[in-house]
């Protein structure tokens, strides 16, 4: 089971969990990313590359399904403007194997940071905006899965 969605609307992590538990797996792992209020940030806007983004998300989900014995993969990424505390991204994995569920979840979160065309702009309450810069640590986290594949 694969469910990939790029959407403006919020999602419900508990509902995704319930969907994957219904597949009778031994393990369900999940990750939710939320907008943090660091340094007084009040909101975040996510821009993306229509068409390419959907393809990239589907390719990541397919890669996870091919690398680990999974029963289900949910990958939801929001776009548009989100205020502090709102959910941005959800990964939920069902597998009969604990390690596969945990690893596939970490893999998708690491790769999302580097392999999908999203750009984040932070916004302060005084109206100031700033594009988030990519981090070297994100590349390193994503690359460890290339090493692992060898």
């Amino acid at each position: 089971m694969k469910y990939v969605s790029l959407q403006q609307a919020d999602f419900d992590p508990g509902a995704e969990q319930a969907k994957l538990e219904a597949l009778s797996p031994g393990a369900v792992s999940s990750f939710t990313g939320l907008v943090r209020g660091d340094d007084g940030i009040s909101a975040m806007t996510l821009e993306h590359y229509p068409g390419m983004t959907e393809a990239a998300l589907n390719a990541l989900a397919d890669e996870a399904l091919s690398r680990w014995p999974l029963k289900g993969v949910v990958l939801i990424h929001r776009i548009g403007r989100m205020t502090v505390g709102e959910r941005i991204v959800q990964v939920t994995i069902a597998s009969d194997h604990r390690a596969a569920a945990l690893e596939a979840c970490a893999f998708l979160i690491d790769r999302l940071k580097t392999n999908a065309p999203f750009w984040k702009q932070e916004e302060w309450s005084d109206g100031k905006c700033r594009w988030v810069e990519a981090k070297c640590s994100d590349d390193a986290a994503a690359e460890r899965w290339d090493q692992a594949a060898k």
């Binding site: 993306h48 590359y49 390419m52 991204v89 690491d110 999302l112 999203f118």
Partner: protein, 86 residues
């Protein structure tokens, strides 16, 4: 001359002031680097956006490529900063 759609995202889009433009590429433009040189000459804002090429990423027909990649028969070429999703 080949017709190509050029897309811009994030601060590249903001600096150039365009989300996309249709261009007629001269035949001598073979690589992404050639294209960046040529685009940088189109206006001051293009020049500004492409000033630091280490911060520019490119996708040809929605696949990420390096700046030495050949353009070939591309229909859609996008320029943007390193991605920051997740």
């Amino acid at each position: 001359m080949t017709k190509v759609k050029i897309l811009y995202f994030a601060w590249v889009r903001e600096q150039i002031g365009l989300t996309e433009e249709q261009v007629e590429l001269p035949a001598e433009i073979e690589t992404v680097a050639n294209l960046i040189d040529w685009l940088a000459g189109r206006s001051d804002t293009h020049a500004l956006a492409f000033a630091d090429r280490s911060k520019i990423r490119c996708a040809i027909d929605q696949s990420i490529v390096a700046q030495d990649a050949s353009i070939g028969v591309a229909k859609e070429i996008a320029f943007f900063p390193p991605v920051t999703g997740g």
